[in-house]
Structures are given as C-alpha cells and as structure tokens.
Symmetry: C2
Subunit: 244 residues, 2 copies
DNA sequence: TGTTCATCTTGAACGTGTTCAGAAATCGGA
DNA sequence: TCCGATTTCTGAACACGTTCAAGATGAACA
C-alpha cells in the first residue's frame, strides 16, 4: 500500500524520470505532475494564509485530490515545507555559484550570498518561520536536523568555495571550520530576518551590513600571531559543539 | 463562564489568597489545590512520557478532573509549561541571590548561576525542549516571547547584579548591555544542554567551562583602548538587535 | 430554610494532522 | 483483449488540543 513518502526521502522529483524505458513507468510525469500540483497548491495556501491556517484538507482540495493523496506524496505537512526548502536550494545553486566567481572580496561575496537567499525567500518569508522556528535538532524542519543535512552540507560547501576564492589570508587552523562557522552565522541572520517585523526588514539589512564588517575584521584580527591563544580557545569551543 | 486562564495571565497562584476575609472566598485554597494538582499531574506525565505524548485527557484524568477543568486553570497545554517555568524561576531566585554574594570573580559567579539552573532543571531537561524548541518571539513558549518577558527581565537583572558585584574593570559602554548579553549567552548554553545527548551532558559541561574562560577573556580584552573601535562595532550590532 | 450568584466542573463536539483498508487506474505481458 | 500486479487515489476514522453550553457546588443573605 504505502510506498511513497517516507520520512527521510520525502520528495523524489527526479527519481524514475530517467528510467522510462526500463521498468515501471507509465504516462511520463503523471505522478510527478500530481505531486507538483499538491506542492504548488500548498505553497500558495501557505503564503496566503500562513502555514498553520492552511489545512491539509484545503491543500488537497486545491490540488483536486483527496486528503489521503497528499499523504501519498508527502509524509507530513512539514514534509511539504521540506520539499519547498529542497527546491529552493536547487533553484538557487546556479545563482550562488555565479556570486562566488564574481569577486575575491570575502565580504562582498558573503553579502552577495545573503542577498540571493533573502531575495529568493522574500515571498515566503513567513512560511520560513515554520521551517526555522525550531532549534531542536530532532525536529525534521530544524536547520540542524538529519532531514535537512544534505541541503545544509551543500550550503556549507558554498561557503567553503567562497573562502577559497577569497584572497584573505587566514590562520591555518581556521580554514577547516570556517565554512561551517560562516554557515551558522548566516543562519542566525536569516533567523533574525524571518522574525524581523521592521519596515522592509530594514533592521536585518543593517545587521547584515554591519555584522559582515565585524566578521571580516575579526577574521583578519584572528590571523595575528598575538591572537593565537584566544583563537585556539574559540576553536576548542567549536570542536566541542561540532562533536569531534 | 470562562474567567480564569487568560493568555498572558496563566497562573495566579498567589491571587485572591489574601482576600479571604473580604469578598468571595470559599474553603480556602480549594481552587488553588485543584490547580496545583493539575500542574503536578501534568509535570509528572511530561517527565514520564514527554511533552507531546502526555495528552490533556491523561493529565486531567490523573488529576481526577474532567478535560475541560484543565482548561479552566490553564489556557493551553503550553501554558502549563509556562507555569512550570515561572515556578522554577521563583524557586531558584533565593539560591541565585546566594550565588551572587558568594564571590567577586565573575567567572565563578556565572558558573555558579549556570550550575544552579542546570541542577534545578536536570529532572525536566527533556520537558524544557518543549519550552525552548522555539526561537519565534511570537510563540508563547519562546524564551524571547512577550509571555516570558517578566521571567526574562528578572533573570537579566540577576546577571546585572553579578556584573556589579564582580571586581572586573569593564568598558563603560559595555556596562548597560552586558547583563542582557550574558543572559543570551547562558540561554545559548542552556539550549545546547537541552539537546545535548552526550553521556551526562558532558559536552555541555565542557562547553560551559571553556566558553566561560573565553567570555571573561574577551571582556578583559574589550576594555583595552586598542579595542575600542571593534567594541563599538559590536555594540552597534547589539543596538540593532535589541531594537533601540 | 430557601434564593441568588459567582465559582467551579462536566463531557460532548469541533477542527486539526494523520492513518488505513480498500477502491480505482494503469501498467506489462499473455 | 484480457489478467495479474503495481501504482495511485479515496474518504471514513482516529487521537489530539481546544471550546463551550450546561450543570453542580457552596457561600452569603433573606
């Protein structure tokens, strides 16, 4: 009976598409179309009414299927948000790569990355609060959960390339953890942005601009031989948290 | 009909106790006893089964009342956790004051504060994840919500006194924001502790010890005239976030 | 004692996310 | 074209948090 939607493997958009010739593949894309219809209906309702006010019954009705069908494609209501998150990561990746090659100035590069993400998520800002309201690593929608691991790691890799491309001279022991640290930093900014109710999220904009300068300044400072003991202390904290 | 449990004023333990002589007061403490019975039953079930697995029906049954009665005393399931949080803050306050006068060493003082809280919350560690799983300031149970404001502000005041009692020389512009900054720092540690699955939460223990040294070291560093520009930059970030 | 009235209590009912037994649709192969 | 198998879909049913109209309780007063 139930075969599709599992907890970890929620959305397999590109699955089975390639094997139309091989095994079990009917009218190409029929199933995928339904799934996309449900996803689209859900996202529209989420944006219109908010995550909680949009019920699974409404979503299914809007997608012209029965309630149960939604659960055939998505393991849970949360999983729909997760699918959106994955789609977002995919759609942004090309743009992000462009941003990386645009400049060797780390500050500008980080600013560009953040600009891309905020611009992309702008229409879904409130929806994201459903995704990022949780800090519990056990919650599927947490940015720190197992379910979001793949997206997270790919995202961290982007920061890794940003660091590589930049001309900044860095302390050697900082090079390995820095991508993940920068990712955490941007996660904090995005979290703040989601809940920022100032006009046009001006506060977040200010925070990004100012904090980027601080971050880059700290990076330069930390490269000084004088700062080595403190840097080691801070990196020890990172080691504890990152669990190595 | 419904008069009790409102959203902001969830638990009025000490309400109406004083006016037994004045107006409407029956068998003294009857109502309070019921409320406490519900709270106690809830906490026991929360600890036994976890917040989500303990249903309001179970809680009411364990307290020997109908389901609706629980909602007469508590506006929601969350509100019960909130009541627990308030009770905890009350019960810890005396101990915290003691810790403050115990030493003039800021590091030891902060360590003592954290020790008291972790020790108190130890049996309810998992329950706290229901309280602290949210970073959304709009969520009642968020440490940053309006509903938890009073507890938060009182708690920040504790850190204020800790700073005052300490002999550390601090930059003048740091004195005002420092208590809140320290509170945020401890909140981060507690958050980490809640989700720390290492044996006996050893990682949190290590993190507290090491990070406290870093914090104190940074405070000393920040007092140096050389560090003034960077300190100003960081304080600007604080101003943006704290919304002034 | 009987009446009044706020306080307290009840349990059925609502809307929610989710499950599931089975029906319908569609496939590959005879 | 028909058959068995697989995928896709249905809608009633479940357990949950929560609401609410109605009832029960008991103190204060006549």
């Amino acid at each position: 009976m139930r075969k599709r939607a599992s907890d970890t493997e929620v959305l397999n958009v590109s699955d089975e598409i390639g094997k139309s010739g091989g095994g079990i593949a009917r009218e190409v894309g029929k199933s995928e179309a339904t799934q996309q219809r449900i996803l689209a209906a859900a996202l529209q309702l989420f944006r219109e009414r908010g995550f909680e006010a949009a019920t699974m019954r409404d979503i299914a009705a809007a997608a012209k299927v029965a309630t149960g069908a939604a659960y055939y494609y998505f393991a849970s209501k949360d999983a729909i948000v997760l699918a959106f998150y994955r789609q977002a990561a995919d759609e942004m990746s090309a743009e992000l790569e462009n941003a990386l090659t645009g400049t060797t100035d780390l500050r500008k590069c980080l600013a560009a990355i953040l600009e891309i993400k905020l611009h992309y998520f702008e229409p879904s800002r409130r929806l994201l609060s459903a995704l990022a309201a949780h800090v519990d690593p056990a919650h599927p929608l947490s940015p720190f959960s197992e379910q979001t691991r793949e997206i997270r790691e790919r995202d961290i890799a982007v920061f890794g390339r940003a660091v590589d491309h930049s001309g900044s001279r860095l302390a050697d022991d900082l090079k390995a953890p820095l991508p993940r640290l920068l990712w955490m930093y941007q996660m904090g900014l995005i979290l703040y942005w989601i809940h920022d109710e100032s006009a046009a999220q001006a506060k977040t904009r200010a925070l990004i601009d100012r904090s980027l300068r601080v971050v880059v300044r700290l990076l330069k400072l930390s490269a000084l031989p004088l700062m080595r003991p403190l840097r080691r202390q801070v990196l020890d904290l990172y080691k504890i948290v990152s669990g190595s």
